[in-house]
């Protein structure tokens, strides 16, 4: 559109007499930008009026009114094809140092809790509970800002709480001999807490990649095809980072023992499930996220229930599959199986759902509201 880049110039008084044979050409030259970028004749009419062209001026150009003059201009000036690459929009999902600090907080709290549990082994169960509570609170605060910010959905928080609580107390409640903060579970919890900054970073990378694909692709199918590789890459990267964190934590806690593959698998499955679910929630699909995490919760709860029923002599058969699983792969296997099933399902859904253009509708800055105002409204 036009703007008062320059003050309106005075009309040449003798445009009709002295100018070219076609007086409209002068007008085209003066308002070329307006005419070339206009989307319909009325826009040209509005722009001309804003530049002081009236019906009387239009009469000089042998037109009845500004509207018919605008129609002539619209017909005569070719439409400017907009540049292929749209201008870079402000990045709404930045990860500022302050936000990074908040994202690091859960990891720090978790590490402190584990250290305390090692110092007081007798109170390990209580300390584990307190640590979990503090980690959850810190994570909740961290997730309210940065690239992982999502609209609140009912049930999502409770499912995440249950999954983490089961990761901590599950092996202990399924078998009586495991301790609540053995190296496997504490390394798992620590890795999940420390993985919050990498998760935010991966989510931001994915959003940026998707935005650049969005700007380039000329069809919805092309966009879907272009989004899948970056999504898989980010998920893989996150899984790698999580594994590395777990392995490092395990090595530090056990002074150099090789990590247990089942515990590692359980931790990675849990982290991947939570990350993918959060990614879905960020992109406006919170119900799918709740369904995925809720499914994992249901499997774990069923296993726990079956195990408890199996202790009743008449219903011993109920607990047989769970007992067999624990006997083969250890107490952490229930969590690994439940989370792996849910993670596979959620990832499969995410690959199709995040390839849809409508999933990226909210993360561009065309809100038509200044971001500061929008933020204030969200806080309210």
């Amino acid at each position: 559109m036009t703007g008062p880049h320059t003050a309106p110039e005075p009309v040449e008084p003798s445009a009709r007499r002295r100018g070219p044979a076609d007086p409209v050409l002068l007008l085209i030259r003066r308002h070329y930008e307006l005419c070339a970028t206009a989307v319909d004749p009325l826009e040209i009419a509005a722009g001309l009026e804003a530049h002081g062209v009236t019906d009387r001026t239009a009469a000089q150009f042998r037109h009845r009114d500004v509207f018919s003059l605008a129609e002539e201009l619209y017909a005569r000036v070719p439409r400017a094809t907009p540049a292929d690459a749209p201008h870079q929009e402000p990045d709404a999902t930045q990860l500022t140092p302050g936000q990074l600090g908040w994202h690091l907080l859960p990891g720090a709290v978790c590490a402190a809790g584990i250290a305390a549990a090692h110092a007081l082994p007798a109170r390990a169960a209580v300390i584990a509970g307190g640590t979990l509570l503090l980690v959850l609170l810190a994570a909740r605060t961290a997730l309210r800002r940065g690239p992982l910010r999502a609209a609140p959905a009912s049930g999502a928080g409770r499912c995440a709480c249950w999954l983490l609580a089961f990761a901590l107390y599950g092996p202990w409640s399924l078998t009586t001999h495991a301790a609540p903060l053995d190296p496997g579970t504490s390394a798992g919890l620590l890795a999940c807490a420390l993985a919050l900054p990498p998760a935010a970073w991966c989510a931001r990378r994915f959003a940026r990649r998707a935005r650049s694909v969005l700007a380039q692709s000329h069809g919805l199918a092309e966009f879907a095809a272009g989004t899948r590789p970056p999504l898989l890459a980010e998920l893989g990267l996150f899984a790698l980072v999580l594994s590395a964190l777990f392995a490092t934590g395990y090595l530090v806690l056990t002074h150099g023992v090789r990590p247990d593959p089942v515990a590692l698998g359980g931790c990675v499955a849990l982290g991947l499930l939570l990350f993918t679910a959060r990614l879905l929630a960020v992109h406006g699909l919170p119900s799918a996220a709740v369904a995925g995490t809720g499914g994992a919760c249901a499997i774990e709860a069923a296993a726990l229930g079956a195990q408890l029923l199996g202790r009743v002599p008449a219903l011993r058969a109920c607990g047989t599959p769970v007992r067999a699983l624990i006997a083969t792969a250890g107490p952490g296997s229930v969590q690994a199986v439940a989370c792996a099933i849910a993670a596979v399902a959620v990832t499969g859904y995410a690959i199709s759902a995040l390839g849809r253009a409508s999933a990226h509708i909210g993360d561009r800055a065309i809100t038509l509201v200044r971001p500061a105002l929008a933020d204030r409204a969200v806080v309210r």
Binding site: A46, H51, G52, T54, R56, P82, L214, H218, L368
Partner: protein, 566 residues
């Protein structure tokens, strides 16, 4: 009568308060029940304190057009049939939006647009979640398909995903009033009349009320909403194809509201021409000039007319917001020529806000053109051009600005309804103005008119008036009489009172009633307004108990009246 005022955006803006005239209307028509339905464009855009300030306003309803859709509308309607129905309506809408701007068979396209729009409205009335459906993948796909059809605008043919997404989101925002909770019998269904205070999206609730309840819709435009949409700077950031789709939606919406409205009341002839251009039938248009609170202005005018003739004061006054569109540079150049004809002439520029950089530029030009001068060698010199601000000790109120000189000048290149000119007319000042916007219509021969951007013509007219105090007085008196006749707030209020009565009296019963059984509900059955005591009772009258109100309303009014007589 119960009147629903529909507005879009209620915030005070530097260019003027969109609700200021509604304010005066509500104050003027104390015997009517008003309800305000406001669409809010951002979080701060709320009509705060409206209900407290106006005892005549029964309720204030707001619906946000910003941010994500409200809670219940976040999941699209479920079921295959629902999705199919939504898609059918949305495809109709998209086909109408993506067609070429003015194809030969545009009546057909207007019908398709109306079908799509009302289909979506019906869907939103029956099921929650229309906003989510409008943002869904199905909607984006439908829009893409419509852009790629052979008859579509060639500009849209190669729309990118970015364009489509941006357009989808923008369309959803404009169409959000469709799912506002306002269309039951307690809100808009109970209104006797919908009065939209601007065109465009604000008329959407009125269109739906007219569809569901047969409520007449009155559209008042004191600025062309469509034109404002085109000139809005916020849309410059949108990609061009998204802008094209959004403009098409506003254009079609304007045409549909002009087609459905019972009456259109543009504020001046310029707006009237735009409305006719967008398809408003001439028979439905009645121009109602915006009124101005005369108050102190009229008192000054009276004093000027009745009092002794003032000493011959060769001062020109310019009042207004300092903007490039006001072309103060041309005024200064014209004043230079005036000085050669009338050496004692002075110019006072009274600014009421505006752009500081442009004001500085004008000040610099004034000091360049006119050096300071003094009458003799002892007094300090002063510039013949003085700049004041409204609120400064010299000009405490806008009213004082007009008393400062004999001739008021308007040098704009662009102007809508010239408020400062009307105020000058109330003060019985002779005026010289440029021929822009509604100036010719407002001044009507009671002042001098010159072409815009023509300093020598402006100078000539000013000098002529400065030299002739008698003509000045005559023109001023004529201007004052004209303003008192046409542009008072009372005139505006009276016009609207008559329009309200007329529209409500000619109201037709809703289509669905007549469709179910002929003569099931005769037109007399609808009694406008509430059964409340006559106006003049101090304070707000108490409502009658529910049993007393409901019973008479069921019976036709004529029967009730006869019964009471007997």
């Amino acid at each position: 009568m119960r009147i629903a005022l529909l507005t879009e955006g209620a915030k005070r803006r530097p260019k003027g308060d969109p609700l200021a005239w509604c304010d005066r209307l509500v104050r003027g028509l104390t015997d009517q029940d008003f309800e305000l339905y406001a669409l809010c464009r951002d979080p701060l855009d709320t009509p705060e304190g409206w209900a407290e300030r106006h005892p005549g306003v029964r309720a204030v309803h707001t619906h946000p057009l910003w941010g994500p859709p409200p809670g219940s509308d976040r999941t699209p309607p479920r079921g295959r049939a629902m999705r199919r129905r939504f898609l059918d309506c949305y495809q109709e809408l998209a086909a109408a939006l993506t067609a070429r701007p003015d194809p030969p068979g545009s009546a057909d396209l207007a019908d398709r647009f109306a079908n799509g729009l009302y289909g979506l409205a019906d869907l939103a009335r029956e099921h929650a979640g229309l906003p989510a459906a409008l943002r869904s993948e199905a909607a984006v796909r439908a829009l893409e398909a419509a852009c790629r059809t052979p008859g579509a605008d060639p500009l849209l043919g190669c729309a990118t995903v970015h364009d489509l997404l941006t357009a989808t989101e923008a369309l959803e925002r404009v169409l959000r009033p469709l799912s506002a909770p306002w269309y039951d019998e307690h809100t808009l269904g109970a209104a006797d009349l919908c009065h939209a205070t601007s065109g465009g999206p604000a008329t959407l609730p009125g269109l739906l009320a007219a569809r569901y309840g047969g409520t007449p819709l009155l559209v008042t435009e004191y600025a062309v909403r469509l034109r404002e949409h085109y000139l809005d700077r916020e849309h410059d950031q949108l990609p061009v194809r998204a802008r094209a789709l959004l403009a098409a939606l506003h254009r079609r919406l304007a045409a549909e509201s002009y087609r459905t409205a019972a009456l259109l009341t543009p504020g001046n002839g310029h707006i009237r021409r735009w409305q006719e251009r967008c398809g408003a039938p001439r028979t439905k248009i009645r121009t109602v000039h915006p009124g101005i609170d005369a108050g102190r202005l009229a008192a000054i005018g009276e004093a000027a007319e009745a009092g002794a003739p003032e000493e011959d004061d060769p001062t020109l006054v310019w009042v207004g917001r300092v903007e490039p569109a006001k072309d103060l540079v041309a005024l200064l150049h014209a004043f230079a020529r005036v000085r050669t004809a009338v050496p004692a002439a002075r110019l006072r520029i009274v600014s009421g806000g505006g752009r500081a950089d442009y004001l500085a530029q004008c000040r610099a030009l004034a000091t360049q053109l006119f050096p300071d001068e003094a009458v003799d060698s002892r007094t300090p010199g002063e510039n013949p051009v003085t700049f004041d601000e409204i609120g400064s000790p010299y000009v405490p109120t806008p009213v004082d600005a007009y008393t400062a000189g004999g001739v008021v000048v308007l040098s704009s290149v662009v102007e809508g309804f010239p408020t400062t000119l009307v105020e000058a007319m109330f003060c019985a000042r002779a005026t010289v103005s440029t021929d822009v916007g509604a100036v010719r219509e407002v001044i009507g021969g009671t002042g001098l008119i010159v072409p815009p951007r023509n300093p020598s013509a402006l100078a000539e007219a000013c000098a002529e008036l400065l030299r002739d105090p008698r003509r000045r007085a005559l023109l001023g008196a004529a201007a004052r009489a004209r303003a008192l006749e046409l542009f008072t707030a009372e005139q505006n209020t009276t016009a609207f009172r008559e329009i309200y009565l007329d529209l409500v009296a000619h109201r037709r019963p809703a289509a669905q009633h007549t469709a179910s059984a002929p003569f099931a509900q005769p037109p007399e059955a609808h009694v406008p307004g509430s059964w409340r005591p006559a106006p003049g009772v101090p304070g707000r009258a108490k409502r009658a108990p529910a049993w007393a109100v409901r019973e008479p309303r069921r019976r036709p009014a004529a029967v009730g009246a006869l019964g009471e007589d007997a």
